[in-house]
């Protein structure tokens, strides 16, 4: 005879305000198999769990029902309470009376209470049919894949590799470094981005536990946590990296000039190029789209001047495969294109530039030798207007979120302008100054005093040309008047946006993304670096806009998660997986077709006892099965059962109401 214990939680006011909890307990007590029922303010707290443990011993309970929040929240907590009391943890059943009742029926307490009682009755009925289950152990491939070689990917790769776990780092461009390599100085301490980043880039290249695969992208990911298989496309670089010494003869002689992406198109690079002098690896690649040898079969100069014979125009894309156990996604961000701001004359006026273009100009290794110059006439600007929130916090034209870093980098830009052009004057149009971060507010305050920048609180409504000046018209909301500023140069603090390839990557990895294209974390507060898919983690701006300190912290957090995952030789896995009763299986293989994880294969068994004739049946790979239940639903001969969700269990639930 089953002896069920029922524990109903108040969840503070979350449940108790809308569900009559004592009434639910009374209803539970009327069920024949329920030998003990009680309510408590917070069941998940330690005293709450103690009540469960005590009751198991005192009342010789055979299964437990906890009526509380979603099992996604605390199923693990209560399972542990059961095993601490010596009971098999899978004899627990959670009735979700918060998300499924109190939260959604706040206007009708009577109905909410009835529904909560029904949910408890179902859980009790199911728990009676629950069986003892045991965790499954699966082997783990202790190698991590990091996608993206910006500061997030670099930090994650280094931290994982330092724990002596091999890392495969995939970067789509010819060099690692990402957006940070394009920055001049970094807020709020103004240390040079290159100086703090390049040592880390070199560490990546020389680390014995890191395999760096530049100029490549991820094509396919198969498998499950601990046992993924990844396909990587290594784009043809047309340069043999093994023999190339990076001497530079090829790009010096190359006659084809192309807009330089690293410098935001302000100057030109060659068709064979390294993105920037500190690139890692410091080997050139040929841009197949622009190289005349590859497009028209004419030129071949780089091959002629290469002393090592490293140029190979016949090189093809290469597909490589790696077995890995975990993935860190660190694909960074894109700068938002301000084209929709037609009233600013974006695209018409050359002297309106974006913040990253300004950053390249003032950068010591930039295209203008560190001096901001007007693109129209190459003159040094005196009056510079910075406009914040271009795209950010603008639902009409851009995106509704705050990009988080623009207030700080614009402050930095006013300082850099002041350093480079002493007699310049900066104006900043802003909505708010958001300087939450260690040393940030002090940085903004100091910059305002030191540079004498004029801060104007209000939006810019129009920019027009007067002679060779740009007239910036906006509102100064603090004096309630329209103001016009005569500018030599206008810098737009454009929003941070999600990489445009993120949705494709998310589909490929089987993880989710939000309406902006940022990859979604498992829980916004308590699981900020995990995704909903086990073994895939997020670092940096690919999840949401963030600054460098936060990005680095998140990357290190990812590394800790990966190391934790790889701590043992095997991994524990929930036993809720499918099993095949081969006696019923007709071998139709419909389950093989519907399984989204490729967990079902076919097997041969004898027709009958002692028979030599064989027939085909389905077989589940228990390491791969995720317990989704698709095979159970498609199986026409009810040969497949899902542990924890067996037919008798489900039928019991249905019958109970």
């Amino acid at each position: 005879m089953a002896r069920v214990g029922v524990f109903v939680c108040f969840c503070g006011a979350n449940i108790a305000d809308y569900v009559d909890v004592p009434q639910v307990v009374e209803e539970a007590k009327r069920i024949r198999e329920v030998k003990f029922a009680i309510d408590y303010k917070y069941m998940c707290s330690d005293p709450g769990q103690q009540q469960i443990r005590d009751a198991i011993a005192q009342h010789r309970l055979t299964s437990i029902v906890v009526a509380a929040c979603s099992p996604r929240m605390h199923e693990k907590t209560f399972r542990k309470a059961l095993s601490d009391a010596g009971m098999n943890p899978y004899l627990l059943e959670v009735a979700n009376i918060r998300e499924h009742s109190s939260w959604v029926h706040q206007k009708d307490k009577k109905a909410a209470t009835e529904k909560a009682s029904d949910l408890v009755r179902m859980a009790v009925a199911k728990s009676i049919a629950n069986e003892q289950l045991h965790e499954i152990s699966v082997p783990v491939t202790k190698r991590a894949l990091v996608i993206g070689g910006g500061i997030a990917g670099i930090q994650a790769a280094l931290d994982i590799a330092d724990a002596r776990i091999p890392v495969v780092l995939v970067e789509k461009s010819p060099s690692i470094g990402g957006k940070m390599a394009q920055l001049d100085e970094t807020f709020p301490t103004l240390d040079c981005a290159q100086c703090i980043l390049t040592p880390k880039m070199v560490d990546v290249a020389s680390h014995p536990y890191i395999e760096l695969i530049p100029y490549s992208e991820v094509l396919e990911l198969q498998g499950f946590v601990g046992n993924y298989k990844v396909k990587i496309k290594k784009k043809a670089s047309y340069v043999n990296f093994k023999t190339c010494t990076g001497c530079g003869a090829c790009w010096q002689k190359c006659p084809v000039k192309v807009d330089n992406e690293y410098n935001m198109g302000i100057d030109k690079r060659k068709a064979i190029y390294t993105p920037f002098p500190q690139a890692v690896p410091n080997k050139p690649v040929i841009d197949a789209e622009h190289c005349t040898m590859l497009t028209k079969g004419k030129c071949g100069i780089c091959a002629k001047v290469c002393e090592k014979g490293s140029i190979d125009y016949q090189m093809q894309d290469e597909i490589i495969e790696r077995e890995i156990g975990a993935v860190v996604v660190a694909t960074g961000y894109d700068m938002w294109d301000p084209k929709p701001y037609e009233e600013y004359g974006v695209g018409r006026f050359k002297d309106i530039i974006t913040s990253l273009e300004f950053e390249r100009m003032v950068s010591a290794n930039g295209p203008t030798n560190g001096l901001p110059l007007r693109p129209s006439d190459g003159k040094v600007p005196k009056n510079v207007v910075f406009i914040k929130c271009v795209g950010s916090r603008d639902e009409a034209k851009g995106i509704s979120y705050c990009s988080k870093i623009c207030c700080m980098y614009t402050t930095k830009h006013t300082i850099l302008l002041h350093h480079k052009v002493h007699d310049s004057h900066a104006y900043v149009f802003y909505m708010d100054i958001r300087a939450a971060g260690k040393g940030y507010e002090e940085f903004v305050e100091k910059a305002q005093v030191d540079t004498g920048t004029t801060y104007l609180r209000g939006r810019v409504s129009k920019i027009y040309k007067k002679g060779d000046k740009l007239m910036v018209r906006g509102e100064d909301a603090q004096i309630g008047q329209v103001v016009e500023v005569e500018a030599d140069l206008v810098v737009l603090a454009t929003a941070v946006s999600a990489p445009k390839d993120n949705p494709d990557l998310a589909r490929l990895l089987g993880i989710s993304y939000d309406k902006y294209g940022y990859l979604s974390e498992a829980h916004p507060k308590l699981r900020p670096v995990e995704t909903a898919k086990a073994g895939i983690f997020l670092a940096g701006c690919t999840q949401a806009p963030k600054d460098i300190p936060e990005t680095v912290s998140q990357a290190s957090a990812c590394a800790a998660k990966v190391c934790g995952l790889f701590a043992g030789d095997t991994m524990k896995k929930d036993p809720m997986i499918s099993t095949v009763n081969t006696e019923y299986c007709s071998g139709c293989q419909n389950c093989v077709k519907v399984c989204p994880y490729g967990a079902i294969v076919t097997d041969e068994v004898p027709f009958g006892h002692g028979s030599k004739e064989l027939r085909t049946v389905a077989k589940i790979n228990e390491g791969v099965c995720q317990g989704c239940g698709s095979c159970v639903a498609i199986c026409r001969s009810t040969a497949i059962n899902l542990a924890g969700f067996t037919d008798p269990q489900i039928i019991n639930e249905i019958v109970s109401i």
Partner: protein
């Protein structure tokens, strides 16, 4: 032969007679047969939509219903205000059948609205339906030598969700039309600024100020005339110009043409038929530039070093 439903609006029979007349001349020349909506009524601007929402819809809706009896797929309107009222009404009626039924009940004796006639401004019709190639083909007397600032005003392209035509901030359709006629369109950043509209009568100072800025910017752009596609813009820019000149204390002297007047001129129609005598600011000076082509000053490309040296010297 194309057919087009025509809604002239009240100004076409008064202050903007020359717009109405040249539209008709140009359309005939372009082989477009215009049919005026029989018994059309006032569009309601601007009194109706500031007083009563239902009246603001009902007046244009009656015109839309009457237009459907003519069996043409498109209606074109020379006046920007009329265009705005009819287009807003069309979009809101199409999107909201409930509201449409309610409003339609007030003008039910004229018919039931079906939403089958597209509403366009005359500018939009010329740009989209006639097309630059057809316009270019008709030009017998190029306007080369004229430098024109194209002024669209606030209503022809806004709001984008309603008009769905050209850019709401920096439209180019009229610029392209005058360039098809051989003239040069200047870079004019005030092309969609507000002229003050009907405040011309109730609060003239507002118009003097706003229109004054538009005229000054047009002058600065190097234009010798302004081109418009709206009767109220024309009247403010033209009629208030002497007062504005007095207010600014300087000469502006920019004649204000309807784009159809210039089309007719370029199509070789006699000047005396284009009603230039109705203008306040004399047009002769601007028209005298036709044929006089000043070569553009050759741009000297400086090397980066020269520029750097120059800015260092500064």
């Amino acid at each position: 032969m194309k057919k087009l439903t025509y809604f002239p609006g009240c100004s076409a029979h008064g202050t903007s007679e020359e717009f109405d007349k040249t539209v008709k001349m140009v359309m005939t020349s372009l082989d477009v047969q215009m049919e005026e909506i029989p018994d059309w009524n006032c569009c309601g601007a601007t009194s109706a939509h500031t007083m009563s929402e239902s009246l603001a819809y009902a007046l244009p809706l009656r015109n839309l219903v009457l237009a459907e009896k003519l069996d043409n797929s498109t209606m074109a309107i020379p006046c920007a205000s009329c265009y705005q009222r009819l287009k807003v009404t069309k979009v809101h009626m199409d999107d909201n059948p409930e509201l449409c039924k309610e409003i339609n009940s007030t003008v039910v004796e004229d018919g039931i609205y079906q939403g089958k006639v597209d509403v366009k401004s005359m500018l939009q019709y010329c740009f989209e339906d006639v097309g630059l190639d057809a316009i270019k083909a008709k030009v017998t007397k190029s306007l080369a030598g004229m430098k024109l600032a194209c002024y669209y005003g606030c209503l022809l392209t806004r709001p984008k969700a309603i008009t769905n035509f050209d850019s709401p901030e920096y439209p180019m359709s009229m610029d392209k039309i005058v360039e098809a006629l051989g003239a040069k369109a200047t870079e004019f950043d005030y092309k969609t600024e507000c002229c003050g509209a009907s405040f011309s009568i109730s609060n003239t100072e507002v118009v003097i100020n706003l229109t004054g800025q538009i005229l000054e910017m047009a002058k600065e752009s190097g234009a010798d005339a302004i081109v418009v596609a709206c009767p109220l813009c024309q009247s403010n820019l033209d009629m208030r110009q002497p007062d504005i000149e007095k207010h600014l204390g300087k000469k502006i002297d920019l004649p204000i043409f309807y784009f159809t007047q210039l089309m007719a001129l370029a199509f070789g129609m006699p000047e005396k038929d284009l009603m230039f005598s109705k203008h306040i600011v004399p047009v002769e000076g601007a028209l005298a530039n036709i044929g006089k082509i000043v070569p553009e000053p050759e741009k000297v490309k400086k090397t980066r070093k020269a520029v750097e040296a120059e800015s260092e010297a500064e």
